[in-house]
């Protein structure tokens, strides 16, 4: 029984990861690629780890698995934020079919100060 559960979780996780991988290849601009990868990967890896937790069925392993997931959940969005911000700062273009860019012109050219757009009010 647990073998099937493990297989299922593994397969699911692997597919999520695969979708993320397809996403990073297919998505037309950087921001979309970033969007796709972070969460898919976290979810996918989380599933794989869950499989491992079930497989080993051991408290210390389970805590370890939880810890890894926790770290991923904590760090992945932050990583996405810093690289996304850096990308925007160095002028990485949005996809041509993008509908809106409210960040445009908000960064100070020299200090990278980011305004909230409420300074005028």
């Amino acid at each position: 029984m647990s073998d099937f559960l493990i297989m299922f979780l593994c397969t699911l996780g692997a597919i999520v990861v695969l979708i993320a991988a397809i996403g990073i290849v297919r998505m037309p601009d950087f921001y979309l690629q970033l969007s796709v990868t972070i969460k898919a990967a976290v979810l996918g890896i989380g599933l794989l780890l869950a499989a491992a937790a079930i497989f080993f069925a051991d408290v210390s392993i389970t805590t370890k698995v939880l810890a890894i997931t926790f770290f991923l959940v904590l760090t992945a969005p932050v990583a996405g934020h810093v690289i996304g911000r850096a990308a925007y700062l160095i002028g990485t273009k949005l996809w041509k079919k993008s509908v809106l860019d409210e960040l445009k012109g908000k960064y100070d050219e020299h200090t990278n100060y980011l305004g909230s757009g409420e300074e005028d009010k």
């Binding site: 073998d3 397809i22 890896i45 911000r85 700062l89």
Partner: protein
């Protein structure tokens, strides 16, 4: 099909394909930021591979490596972002 074979012939190949796709993005770029996220994703998938591998070999020890990867892969991305911002400020 037992678990071991399933992992070997189904799950790991899927992950391998994923890795290859991400690697394709890494090498294609086109810009450094694309590469950085591809790198980040590579490492993340690496954690997945290690996880499966630890199940396959029944060695929970390898999960420790996964833990380290999860913890500090982040630093690489931060460092690259730091570089990009600094470089932009310097130009």
């Amino acid at each position: 099909m037992n678990l071991n074979n399933y992992l070997t012939y189904v799950v790991l190949p899927i992950l391998s394909v994923a890795v290859l796709l991400v690697a394709y993005r890494f090498f294609k770029g086109p810009t450094i930021v694309n590469r950085v996220i591809a790198l980040d994703l590579l490492i993340t998938i690496g954690i997945g591979i290690i996880t499966i591998y630890s199940i396959q070999t029944n060695q929970s020890t390898f999960l420790d490596d996964g833990m380290i990867l999860a913890l500090i892969a982040f630093l690489g991305t931060v460092a690259f972002s730091y570089y990009l911002e600094k470089k932009k400020n310097n130009e």
